[in-house]
C-alpha cells in the first residue's frame, strides 16, 4: 500500500534524522558531567587534567571506532578486548626478540587483523552469528595471550616503543595523536569511500544490498579485519604506555568500546549511527572515570558507578525518543 507515503514525504524532517542530528542527548550528559565535576572537584578544570582525560580516552576511542564499524553492519565483535591483549603481547615478544619497533607494531597490528579475519571468515563463510563467532575468538585470543606470556606480564623498555605510549607531540600525548588519526581515517573511510557506503548499506538492509550486486560477504569480512587491526593498534599503544604486555589487560574493553558506541547513539539495528557520536560516548566514559578519580571515588566503586551512568544515559535517550523529543 502506498497510503501515508505522501503525508510522510511532506513532513519537514531533517534529511537524516538519527545520523545527522543536531546535538545528541549524550552530548548534554557529557556537558553536564563536565559542569558537575568542574564544580565538585577543584583539580578537574586544569589543562593537565584535560590532557589526562584525552590520554586515558585514546585507546578507548580507537576501540570505539572499531566497535562502531562492526555495529553499523548490524554485527558485534566481543573479541576486541582479547585481541587488544594478544596484540600487545605479540608486539612485546617481537621487541624482546630484538626486532625494531616498526616491526613490532606491524606484527601487533597483523595479529589483530588475523584475529579479525578468522572472526569475519566464520561469520561470512561459516555463516555463524557474529555473537558466537566473536565469543569464540574472545576466548581463543585471551588463551593465546596467556600461553605466550606464561600467565605473567612481559616487559620491554625500548625507548622508541615507550615513546608511543608516554611521549607527546607538542602538548598532545602520542596515544591521543594516534587516536585522532584513527578517528580521521575512520571518518573518511566511513563517509567518503565506497567501503563506508557498503558498511552503512549492509546495516540498513543486507539482503537489499546484496541484491544490488554488492559483495556483502567481502565487505563484512573486511569490517572485522579492520576492527581487529584497530583493536590491535589499541593493544600496542597500551603496551607502550605500560612498558609491558599484561595477559589480562584487555579484559572488559570490548564492553567499554561497545558501551561508548551505543552511548554515542549507534543502534544495534539497521546500521543507524555515527562515528562522531562514538567520540561523545568515549568522552562520557573517560570523563566519568577521570572525574571519579579526581573526586576521590575509589577504583573499587568505579565499575558499578560507570555501569549505572551507562544505563541512566541510555534510559534518558530512550525516554526522549519515546516522548518524541528527538528522532
Amino acid at each position: 500500500m502506498t497510503d501515508g507515503g505522501v503525508a510522510k514525504s511532506i513532513r519537514p524532517e531533517s534529511e537524516r534524522p538519527a545520523a545527522r542530528a543536531k546535538l545528541p542527548p549524550v552530548a548534554w550528559v557529557v556537558l553536564f558531567m563536565i559542569a558537575f565535576f568542574g564544580v565538585t572537584a577543584p583539580g578537574f578544570f586544569t589543562v593537565g587534567n584535560f590532557l589526562n582525560i584525552m590520554l586515558q580516552g585514546s585507546v578507548l576511542l580507537i576501540m570505539g571506532v572499531a566497535a562502531t564499524f562492526v555495529i553499523l553492519t548490524e554485527g558485534i565483535d566481543l573479541s576486541l578486548g582479547s585481541v587488544l591483549t594478544l596484540a600487545g603481547v605479540t608486539a612485546v615478544l617481537v621487541l624482546q626478540g630484538g626486532q625494531s619497533v616498526p616491526v613490532a607494531v606491524l606484527v601487533g597490528i597483523l595479529t589483530g587483523a588475523a584475529c579479525g579475519a578468522v572472526t569475519g571468515g566464520l561469520i561470512t563463510v561459516g555463516k555463524l552469528p557474529p555473537f558466537i563467532a566473536s565469543l569464540g575468538m574472545m576466548g581463543i585470543a585471551a588463551g593465546f595471550a596467556l600461553v605466550l606470556t606464561r600467565q605473567g606480564a612481559i616487559y620491554s623498555d625500548v625507548p622508541a616503543f615507550i615513546f608511543l605510549g608516554e611521549g607527546s607531540l607538542g602538548i598532545l600525548p602520542m596515544p591521543t595523536v594516534v587516536a585522532v588519526l584513527v578517528f580521521a581515517v575512520g571518518w573518511v573511510g566511513l563517509y567518503q569511500t565506497d567501503f563506508g557506503r557498503y558498511i552503512i548499506s549492509i546495516g540498513g538492509n543486507e539482503a537489499g544490498t546484496r541484491l544490488s550486486g554488492v559483495n556483502t560477504a567481502w565487505w563484512k569480512f573486511l569490517t572485522y579485519v579492520a576492527a581487529g587491526a584497530l583493536a590491535a593498534l589499541g593493544g600496542v599503544i597500551m603496551a607502550a604506555r605500560l612498558g609491558a604486555a599484561d595477559p589480562i589487560v584487555g579484559n572488559g574493553w570490548e564492553f567499554d568500546a561497545i558501551a561508548a558506541t551505543i552511548l554515542g547513539g549507534t543502534s544495534f539495528e539497521k546500521g543507524n549511527g555515527t562515528l562522531g557520536g562514538t567520540v561523545l560516548g568515549v568522552l562520557l566514559i573517560s570523563i566519568l572515570r577521570n572525574g571519579l578519580n579526581v573526586v576521590g571515588v575509589g577504583a573499587m566503586w568505579q565499575p558499578a558507578l560507570i555501569g549505572l551512568v551507562i544505563i541512566a544515559a541510555i534510559v534518558f535517550d530512550v525516554l526522549l525518543k519515546q516522548r518524541g523529543v528527538i528522532q
Binding site: 500500500m1 502506498t2 497510503d3 507515503g5 505522501v6 510522510k8 514525504s9 513532513r11 524532517e13 534529511e15 537524516r16 534524522p17 545520523a19 567518503q192 569511500t193 565506497d194 567501503f195 563506508g196 557506503r197 557498503y198 552503512i200 548499506s201 540498513g204 538492509n205 539482503a207 537489499g208 544490498t209 546484496r210 541484491l211 544490488s212 550486486g213 554488492v214 559483495n215 539497521k270 546500521g271 543507524n272
Partner: protein, 499 residues
C-alpha cells in the same frame, strides 16, 4: 441442496487502505458439502476465508450460522462457533508432539498438571476417525507434510468444528497423499461437516467439489453446481478483467539472445524451468502465486543457489552465479518487495541510486559528492522522480517513487537486462503508466526485460512473448498474438489447452 445451510454469508464487503478486497460477496455452505472457492491471485479468496474464520472483520454484510446471525470477532470465537481453518502454512509447534499440538491452548488438566493420558487417548480417537495411523507421541517436526496436515485437521475436529476451511490443501502433497486427503474429505462429508475448499487446481473442482463459487477482483461472479459447469466456463468466469488503460508499447524485431535458462532446479520450488529473453523484447512471466516465478528470477540473478540447470548471459555460461557477478554481466533485478529487498530505507535517495555503481563511478574508492549529485540529478530528471531533495531518505518516498529509485539504480549500472518482479504492485495508476512507459523505452534502446506479473492485463498489454509457470516449471510459451486471459489462466492452473 435442500438442507438449511450451515453458513450463510451475505453482501460481505471489506476494504483495505486503497483496495476494495471484497465487494458484496455472497457465500453459502451446506452440511456434508464441499464448496470450492475459485479465483485468480488477488480475487479475494483469502480475505473471504479470513473473515469466515474470524481473523478479519467485514466492513459490511451478515454471517449466519445455522440460521443465527453471528459476530466472529476473533479466530477463537469462530472456533467456538464451529469454524475451523487449515492455512497453507500450518500453525503447529514443530518440537511438540502430535497430541500436544492437537490440544494446543486447551490442554486437559488433572490435579493442576497436564493430563497426558487423556490427551493421547482423545488424539488417538480423532486420528482413528480420520483413518490416520500417526503416533500421537511423535514430534510434529518428524512428520511429513501430509501427516502434519492431518494433525491440523484433527486439531480442528477436536473443537467439534462443523465447518472446515482448507486453503490449497493439495499444494504441497504428492498424488498419493492427495488421494488420501480426498478420502478423508469424503469421510468428513459423511459426518455432515461442510468444507470450504480453496484451490488453484482446476481439475480438483470436479474431483472433490459439490458446488463452486468464483470471485474476481473482490466481486462475486457466481455459484454453480459442479456437475453443471465445465472447466472452460469456470475460466471464463475467473478472467475477463477489463483492461483499464492503454499500454505504451512499440514493438520491434527480436535482438540477440540476452538470457537463456535451461532446466533450473532448486528444491521443490523450481523443477527444471527454462526460458529465453532477447534484447529488445519484454517477456512476461505469468503464473499463480507459488508457481516459482520469484524463485526463478532470484535463481537467475544468483540471489539463491540452484542444484541443477544452467544460465547463459549473452551466450556466455554463468558459473557460480551471485548477484555481484550478474550485475557485472549487465543484469539488474527490481524485486517485488522494494522495502526489504530493493532499497536500504535508512539511506537517502541519492545513496540508493549509486549503491550498485560505486565501483564504476568512483574507481579510486573515494566518493566524490559533487559527481554523485550530478549523476543522481540526471536520473531524477529523466525518471521524473518526485522528491524535495536527493538527500531525502527513501523511506519517506511513495511506492511509485521508490520503484523509480530502484530503476534508477539499475540504469546507473548501465544494465542491459532488467528483471521486474511485480513492477507496479502497490503503485498508483499514474506512476504505473510511467513505469510502463520506462519499460517500453528500455527495450526500444535495446535492453532485454523479463517481467513477472500477476496482473493479467499488464502481462497481456506489455509483453512480446509470455511464459506461464506452474509448479516450478515453465509450462507454456505464448506469443503476443495468441495470448488471451483465458489461455494464460488455463495454463497456470494446469488445464489442457488445444493449441
Amino acid at each position: 441442496m435442500v438442507d438449511e445451510p450451515l453458513l450463510r454469508a451475505r453482501q460481505i464487503t471489506k476494504t483495505f487502505p486503497g483496495v476494495l478486497a471484497l465487494d458484496g460477496v455472497d457465500f453459502d455452505l451446506c452440511p456434508g458439502e464441499v464448496h470450492v472457492l475459485l479465483g485468480e491471485n488477488g480475487a479475494g479468496k483469502s480475505t473471504l476465508m479470513k473473515i469466515l474464520a474470524g481473523a478479519y472483520q467485514p466492513d459490511a454484510g451478515t454471517i449466519t450460522l445455522n440460521g443465527h446471525p453471528v459476530q466472529m470477532a476473533t479466530p477463537r470465537q469462530a472456533q467456538r462457533l464451529g469454524v475451523g481453518i487449515i492455512y497453507q502454512e500450518f500453525n503447529l509447534v514443530p518440537y511438540m508432539n502430535v497430541a500436544q499440538n492437537i490440544f494446543q491452548g486447551r490442554f486437559p488438566h488433572r490435579w493442576g498438571l497436564l493430563d497426558h493420558a487423556t490427551m493421547h487417548t482423545e488424539s488417538r480417537k480423532l486420528l482413528d476417525g480420520l483413518n490416520m495411523d500417526i503416533d500421537t507421541r511423535a514430534k510434529v517436526v518428524s512428520l511429513g507434510v501430509a501427516q502434519q496436515q492431518m494433525v491440523e485437521v484433527a486439531k480442528a475436529l477436536s473443537v467439534h468444528s462443523k465447518i472446515l476451511i482448507m486453503d490449497e490443501p493439495t499444494a504441497a502433497l504428492t498424488d498419493r497423499e492427495i488421494e488420501q486427503l480426498f478420502a478423508t474429505i469424503h469421510r468428513l462429508k459423511q459426518q455432515g461437516i461442510g468444507i470450504i475448499y480453496i484451490s488453484h487446481r482446476l481439475q480438483e473442482v470436479h474431483q472433490i467439489g459439490d458446488r463452486v463459487t468464483v470471485l474476481r477482483d473482490g466481486k462475486f461472479i457466481g455459484t454453480r453446481q459442479v456437475s453443471q459447469v465445465t472447466v472452460d466456463e469456470l475460466i471464463a468466469m475467473m478472467v475477463g478483467r477489463t483492461i483499464t488503460h492503454m499500454f505504451p508499447r512499440d514493438y520491434q524485431p527480436q535482438g540477440r539472445e540476452a538470457v537463456r535458462v535451461e532446466g533450473l532446479s532448486s528444491g521443490t520450488r523450481l523443477r527444471g524451468a527454462s526460458l529465453r529473453v532477447h534484447s529488445g523484447e519484454i517477456v512476461g512471466l505469468a503464473g499463480l502465486v507459488g508457481a516459482g516465478r520469484t524463485e526463478l528470477a532470484r535463481a537467475i540473478f544468483g540471489a539463491d543457489p540452484y542444484q541443477q540447470g544452467q544460465v547463459w548471459v549473452f551466450g556466455q555460461p554463468v558459473k557460480a552465479a551471485s548477484p555481484d557477478k550478474m550485475v557485472k554481466l549487465g543484469m539488474g533485478l527490481l524485486p517485488e518487495d522494494r522495502k526489504t529487498q530493493g532499497l536500504a530505507m535508512i539511506l537517502s535517495l541519492s545513496e540508493n541510486v549509486v549503491l550498485a555503481s560505486l565501483k564504476r563511478l568512483f574507481p579510486r574508492r573515494f566518493v566524490d559528492a559533487g559527481m554523485e549529485q550530478e549523476v543522481v540529478a540526471q536520473y531524477i530528471r529523466d525518471l521524473r522522480i518526485a522528491t524535495p531533495s536527493p538527500k531525502r531518505l527513501v523511506q519517506f518516498l511513495s511506492g511509485g517513487t521508490q520503484q523509480k529509485v530502484v530503476l534508477a539504480k539499475w540504469l546507473c549500472t548501465h544494465s542491459k537486462i532488467f528483471i521486474f518482479d511485480e513492477p507496479t504492485r502497490g503503485i498508483d495508476v499514474g506512476a504505473k503508466a510511467e513505469i510502463h512507459g520506462f519499460m517500453n523505452e528500455l527495450v526500444k534502446q535495446g535492453a532485454a526485460v523479463l517481467m513477472i506479473s500477476s496482473d493479467l492485463p499488464e502481462i497481456l498489454g506489455m509483453s512480446d512473448r509470455i511464459y506461464v509457470m506452474r509448479q516450478g516449471r515453465v509450462v507454456a510459451e505464448v506469443p503476443r498474438e495468441q495470448a488471451t486471459q483465458e489461455r494464460i489462466v488455463a495454463y497456470a492452473m494446469g488445464h489442457e489447452v488445444e493449441p
